[in-house]
Amino acid sequence: MATRTEDGVARGGPLARVLVYGLLLFAAAYFLLPLYVMLTTSFKTLGQISGGNLFALPAPFSLTGWRDAWSSACTGSDCTGLQHYFWNSVAFTVPAVLLSTAFGALNGYVLTKWRFRGSEIVFGLLLVGTFVPFQMFLLPMARVLGMIGLDNSVAGLTLVHTVYGVAFTTLFCRNYYVAIPDELVKAARIDGASFISTFRYVILPISTPILMVCVIWQFTQIWNDFLFGVVFTSGDAHPITVALNNLVNTSSTGVKRYNVDMAGAIITALPTLVVYIVAGRYFMRGLTAGAVKG
């Protein structure tokens, strides 16, 4: 990868190097600044926020913002903090991620290794489907969820996220499996392996990287979703993203509590941030796979 840069497009004196590093560090500061302000503000007291400097470190260090955001801040008329909504998000994100990944792997396997007449059309339809704005699905989905009794429920959100996630996971897996030599599958079939055992013993063992990409991509998308959450649920069944927005826009006493807002924002962001830090390279691979489709 770095072969070209070794020869160096880059030349130039030490001054140019200093400039390049300076600009890169400035950019890093620009990207990190909101995170820094979010963290420091969350540990400040209200007095420090209204009287102090935006970039100052918290002194004294206060956990009030975090405690309130988790267990007692008001999100609309309900004043029990974000904890309930955090677990709501966990409750639909985990099954939706697992289900959409499983279906995606199966679909990708069939579409590359068991092609049949029309399988390219199925894939084409799926590909086009990934570009359609979700706004096209909202009104009918609200009706259907109402008809089957899943409106305003965690189960309903699980269904919605699974359905619209499968298109992406299928795309990722299909593009990964297409690069696996067909001979591998053919050899297994000659040895008498069935459709299922070929998947189980030939495909699955070499699928770890792409399954990671699917899981991480889906987790980020589904956890961070706001649109489906705000349209298909109300009150008790809200995901954490919607609850955070309500928390920020509810001021029970008329005083904006920015430390609570920022703590709430970090609580909402934490799961996906942790995943990003732990498995960043898979995250990037999912992004480029999603960007350069087909």
Binding site: V9, A10, V20, Y21, S194, L244, V248
Partner: protein, 307 residues
């Protein structure tokens, strides 16, 4: 494999039948979901946009009346104009920052991995979180403005968030912060894919560094520009979460975009037909943005490059 290889002769027809049909059967759940929840719903929404549906959906055909009403609403045109301003600035700034940072990162940088990780993390955040943070940073009385005041420049004013003429630009700031690291990563991948021998040849011929970039490297990044633009345009058209969290569409309607229009008319104001018409136009806009890519893809297939 052990289990299947032990199947006797009598089981063979069943096995063959299973191998023939199981692959297709396993696609059925996803296929049905695709037909119903994607294509069925697209048809359903288009149909709703052609009916008199208001508080409840109905099937009374009304032709293009909803679209006529839509086109007479100021608030729709405010939304469209905002999307145009937002979309152009968002795409242009993300591309400029992304390309610039990618070129800098491509200069044999120590700790490149660290910098890349820092540049990209905003994309892992929910847009609601991004909106909440920037709402705080751009808060006129306590945020960046107050900080500049404390440095002694008391005349400094930065009230974009509460200024109806400027609020949409505040949305641009937050959105560009969120996505420019991603565009950087795309460009960096593109830069790494360029054949080094061409560049070396140009340098031996005496081409200066800026000249090498302008006439060789940047033109060969065309495909990256292409996919980045398509991606950013479709993200811009769908933008909803960030605007809701940052400005709530306000002050007044000043930061409404079509996605907010669709949500508000379709779900809050009981104007299902209008909401459906707005959604349909959003899909048409995305389709228009995709068209160049589809044409290029089809051309590529005809020329014999298949994936």
């Amino acid at each position: 494999m052990a289990a299947s290889s032990s199947s006797g002769d009598s089981a063979m027809p069943v096995r063959r039948w299973l191998d023939r049909w199981l692959p297709k059967l396993s696609l059925v759940p996803s296929g049905v979901a695709l037909l119903v929840f994607v294509y069925g719903f697209i048809g359903w929404t288009i149909w709703l946009s052609l009916t008199t549906s208001s508080l409840l959906p109905n099937n009374t055909f009304a032709g293009l009346r909803q679209y006529e009403v839509l086109f007479k609403l100021d608030i729709w045109w405010v939304s469209v104009l905002n999307l145009a301003i937002f979309g152009v600035l968002y795409v242009a700034l993300c591309l400029a920052i992304g390309l610039f940072l990618a070129i800098l990162l491509d200069q044999k940088i120590r700790a490149e991995g660290w910098l890349r990780t820092i540049y990209l993390y905003p994309l892992a955040l929910s847009l609601v979180v991004t909106g909440v943070v920037w709402k705080w940073l751009l808060n006129p009385s306590l945020g960046l403005e107050q900080f500049v005041h404390s440095l002694g420049w008391t005349g400094f004013s930065f009230d974009w968030l509460i200024n109806p003429d400027m609020a949409i630009y505040a949305v641009v700031i937050a959105a560009v912060w969120q996505a420019s690291g991603f565009v950087t990563a795309l460009f960096l991948a593109g830069l790494r894919g360029i054949d080094s021998s061409i560049i070396k040849a140009a340098q031996i011929d005496g081409a200066s560094l800026p000249r090498v970039y302008l006439s060789i490297i940047i033109p060969s990044l065309r495909p990256v520009f292409f996919s980045a633009i398509i991606l950013l345009v479709s993200l811009a058209i769908k933008s909803f979460d960030l605007v809701i969290a940052l400005t709530g569409g306000g002050p007044g309607y000043s930061t409404w975009v079509p996605a907010i229009f669709m949500y508000d008319f379709g779900f809050n104001r009981g104007q299902i037909g209008l909401g459906a018409a707005a959604a349909t136009l959003m899909m048409a806009a995305v389709a228009l943005a995709m068209l160049p890519m589809l044409i290029a893809e089809l051309k590529g297939r005809r020329d014999g490059h298949k994936n």
